[in-house]
């Protein structure tokens, strides 16, 4: 079996793998891109996903998977260079711009992406979506955060606790 040495993506540069979403849509992508997922990497290193087999991903629907793969394809070259120490500033700026655009999405899509990135263990994407949620949280009052994230309004008991807490940390609500 022609398994590539670990950490060296060149061997699989031309190699394609097939991923199958929960609604049975097949996605053919370069192994290097799919290998950004720690979960898939092992399977791919073992030679899985090639030919007609495909790797089934029962937790990811096709809309989310296409979005995930969009990220992976964009980031694969930089990742192949080992994090991009020799990437030019232009390349880095381009990736940053892509990332900013990429998470500028509907909240429900964002949540699906979070789950997918978590299940597939795509480190960069996990970090990107987590940062997006952090950005949604910061600068808001507790009530605004609850509403933004779709949590139910607090019960009177919770409200009383919140008031007590707000008294204690009065400075944070100035």
């Amino acid at each position: 079996m022609a398994a590539p040495e670990s950490g060296d993506g060149n061997n699989g540069a031309a190699r394609m793998v097939t991923l199958i979403s929960s609604d049975n849509t097949r996605f053919e992508v370069e192994a290097a891109a799919a290998s950004l997922s720690q979960t898939l990497q092992l399977t791919i290193l073992d030679g899985g996903g090639g030919g007609g087999d495909g790797i089934p991903l029962p937790n990811v629907d096709s809309a989310t998977l296409s979005k995930v793969l969009e990220y992976c394809i964009k980031h694969a070259p930089a990742a192949a260079n080992g994090g991009a120490p020799n990437a030019t500033a232009v390349d880095r700026a381009e990736l940053e711009r892509f990332d900013n655009e990429f998470v500028n999405i509907d909240q429900s899509v964002l949540y699906s992406l979070i789950m997918a990135a978590h299940n597939l263990e795509i480190e960069g994407l996990q970090s990107l979506v987590a940062k997006k949620v952090a950005d949604m949280i910061k600068g808001k009052s507790p009530m605004e955060i609850r509403r933004t994230l779709g949590f139910p309004d607090p019960t009177p008991e919770e409200q009383a606790e919140m008031n007590a807490h707000m008294l204690e940390y009065g400075w944070a609500y100035e």
Partner: protein, 693 residues
């Protein structure tokens, strides 16, 4: 129904007198029933009789409560008595040099507002002095009144004086020397002819108005460091209430014939039966003090109600509803938010330079509070962000006409967990000498050193600096975390060292010695000394503030003509020649690679020099400020100086036109921190703020 016979009129008055005092509307409604009742209620005597009848327990119609730090100006309710309220008028002119105590007395029922009281005839009060006041009325809030003001100055004197509305003057203040007393805010208690006010260190200040004496009473040790609420005990003596665990305890003080007081606990109330918390025992520890604060406002009605065996009603509403309803219809809570490992990833990325967002997020859900106060998360949070954010700057303001200096804090984050009032304990005539690794080193007026953590508010008083081999003509000091292999992004609670360096200058030479205090051994060791070059030539700023770089502390000596290095590991003093920068404005800084750097302003540009491995200085960077700050070049008022450097977060601080700017060396961005700055040295305070400490 038969009309009431006129004989019943007297009886009727007795009935009306018994109308509930805490439902004033009922009496008014009754007055409208018929003319004879109207005449009774609005008759000349009824008001007086009604008050007399209910004299023992006038109803609580509500209470005043100052929303925490709601505003720096405006009025603040201080006391209430018999329907009148005493307000303190906050000073409109912010002045660091003096504070004026202005009061207003207001009767909300009649709407009558007394003229502002004349100013309290105290000597100049400093903003760091503490005070409290009481309002005394003898009858139903209509007759004359008195206002008692007590003041504790940082110089250690306690004053009291009384204003009488009849004479319209303040009495001459009486005073006693009571060092270390600070008066706390909160209601006083009037027992007999004595007034009681809460003080720091769990003490009570007693002002005996007949003997004209001021004395201090200690609280029982069980209640130290707890929020207490003074009150009249059941036996009409001095009492207080305190929250311990989930219980509200009432204490009272009995005084024997010799005048010795003794505290006894008189009773407890289970708070979970009184307060709307679902389960007090599960209430997190940090909420308990908040509950106590709540109670300090709630206690007067609480005590009244419990006496009558009626149920306690919650009237407290300090905050308006938190946020207006958004137009967006709330969607359902996503499943993602139930996975705590994912949520902790989100919370991990909240920016450290916005500390309020951690506090606010902790209120969103109980599980979020759990994550944010989990020590493991907190360690991860600090390690993830690595560089502690710049919380603000300390500066020592000096007054030209006296030798006093007052430390001030300029926050760099908004809102800031630290603010000027937190520095009250610093008082006047104290100097911030250094800030590092979350700690602040303060020099007291008597020369003693205190290491202070402004976030936990823990103070550590150092023993006096021992005599060195030479004199201390000039000195400087530094505080450093002393934990082995520490990255210094998470040093809270670590042992620390204080390095005290002093210079003796004679006509022949300059001698320097260093003494080191270790919090581990709680002792000073005089370690090293040496002779360094020619005598000092400048008269001020002989030893500059310290900078930690490359395992050594560096001080500017003789206004930047020389740099002294104290090697922390080797305990070696050495001298470094400064880079070719203009004297008097060299600020030492830590370079990104960990080495020593120096910055100064040259022709409206910041010049940064770096010291290489070969011990040679090289110019590292020149940042021109003229595109960044609007200024008139050549105008003598446009004095620009570098006044400090943050060791960890990579900022330089620049002053121009009395404004302080931070210059981010990574981005080259300039941010205004203060409109009201001076050229004085700044001590940057860099520290993570997290929920648990």
């Amino acid at each position: 129904m038969a009309p009431l016979p006129s004989l019943m009129e007297e009886l009727m008055e007795e009935i009306l007198l018994r109308f509930p005092a805490d439902d004033p509307g009922s009496l008014l409604r009754a007055a409208l029933v018929c003319k004879s009742w109207y005449r009774l209620v609005f008759g000349p005597d009824f008001n007086h009789r009604f008050r007399e009848f209910h004299q023992r327990s006038p109803p609580v119609l509500g209470f005043f409560c100052d929303i925490f730090r709601s505003s720096r100006y405006g009025t603040e309710a201080v006391d209430a008595c018999r329907g009148r309220i005493l307000f303190y008028e906050k000073d409109k002119k912010v002045s660091l040099q003096c504070m004026a105590l202005n009061f207003i007395v207001w009767n909300p029922i009649t709407g009558k507002k007394s003229m502002s009281l004349p100013e309290v005839p105290m000597k100049i009060l400093l903003p760091t002095d503490t005070w409290n006041a009481a309002l005394l009325c003898d009858d139903g809030g209509l007759g004359p009144f008195r206002v008692v003001v007590v003041v504790a100055t940082v110089q250690g004197f306690t004053y009291a004086c009384v204003y009488s509305s009849e004479q319209h003057v303040w009495s001459n203040p009486i005073s006693t020397q009571k060092p270390g007393v600070r008066l706390l805010k909160g209601r006083n208690a009037l027992i007999g002819n004595a007034l009681y006010f809460k003080c720091n260190e769990s003490r009570i200040l007693e002002y005996d108005m007949s003997k004209q004496e001021l004395s201090l009473i200690s609280l029982p040790p069980l209640c130290w460091n707890r929020c207490v609420s003074l009150m009249t005990a059941e036996d009409s003596g001095l009492g207080f209430a305190v929250v311990r665990e989930s219980k509200l305890c009432a204490w009272s003080r009995e005084v024997d014939l010799d005048g010795n007081g003794r505290w006894t606990e008189k009773g407890t109330f289970e708070l979970d039966k009184l307060l709307p918390f679902s389960d007090m025992s599960t209430l997190r520890r940090r909420h308990r003090p908040a509950a106590a604060v709540l109670l300090s406002y709630l206690l007067p009605p609480l005590i009244l109600k419990t006496k009558n065996q009626t149920c306690f009603r919650r009237r407290f509403r300090a905050f308006p509803p938190i946020a207006p309803k958004s137009d967006q219809p709330p969607s359902n809570s996503p499943a993602v938010m139930d996975q705590l490992d994912l949520v902790s990833e989100f919370l991990l990325r909240l920016p450290p330079d916005e500390p309020a967002c951690l506090v606010r997020a902790s209120l969103v859900r109980k599980s979020w509070l759990g994550i944010l106060s989990d020590p493991v998360f907190i360690r991860r949070y600090r390690a993830f962000h690595r560089t502690p954010p710049l919380m603000g700057l300390f500066q020592n303001l000096r007054f030209e006409d006296e030798n006093d200096s007052i430390p001030r804090f300029v926050p760099a984050v908004v809102p800031s967990p630290l603010s000027q009032p937190e520095l009250q304990f610093l008082g006047t005539n104290k100097t911030v000498m250094d800030c590092r690794h979350g700690l602040v080193l303060v020099r007291l007026a008597n020369g003693g050193l205190v290491v202070w953590d402004p976030i936990t508010r823990i103070q550590h008083q150092l023993p006096p600096v021992p005599e060195g081999p030479f004199r201390q003509d000039y000195f400087t000091a530094a505080v450093i975390c002393a934990r082995a292999m520490c990255d210094h992004f998470d040093c809270r609670g670590s042992p620390f060292r204080v390095v005290f360096a002093a210079t003796e200058s004679t006509n022949e030479d300059t001698a320097i010695w260093v003494s080191v205090y270790s919090s581990h051994n709680q002792a000073w060791t005089t370690s090293t000394a040496g002779h360094f070059g020619p005598p000092i030539t400048s008269a001020s700023d002989v030893m500059g503030s310290s900078l930690l770089a490359g395992g050594g502390l560096h001080f500017n000596l003789n206004r930047g003509r020389r740099i002294v290095r104290y090697d922390l590991d080797g305990d070696v003093l050495s001298e470094i020649d400064p880079p070719p920068l203009p004297l008097d404005n060299i600020v030492l800084m830590a370079m990104e690679h960990g080495g020593l750097g120096a910055a100064a302003m040259v022709n409206y540009s910041v010049h940064i020099w770096s010291r290489g491995d070969n011990d040679a200085w090289m110019i590292h960077q020149v940042i021109s400020l003229d595109p960044l700050i609007t200024m008139r070049m050549g105008n003598p008022e446009t004095v620009q100086l570098v006044i400090g450097a943050a060791e960890m977060s990579g900022y330089l601080f620049v002053t121009t036109h009395n404004q302080i700017y931070s210059l981010d060396l990574k981005s080259g961005r300039l941010n205004k921190i203060s409109d009201n700055g001076t050229y004085l040295t700044v001590f940057p305070y860099e520290c993570f703020y997290t929920l648990s400490l």
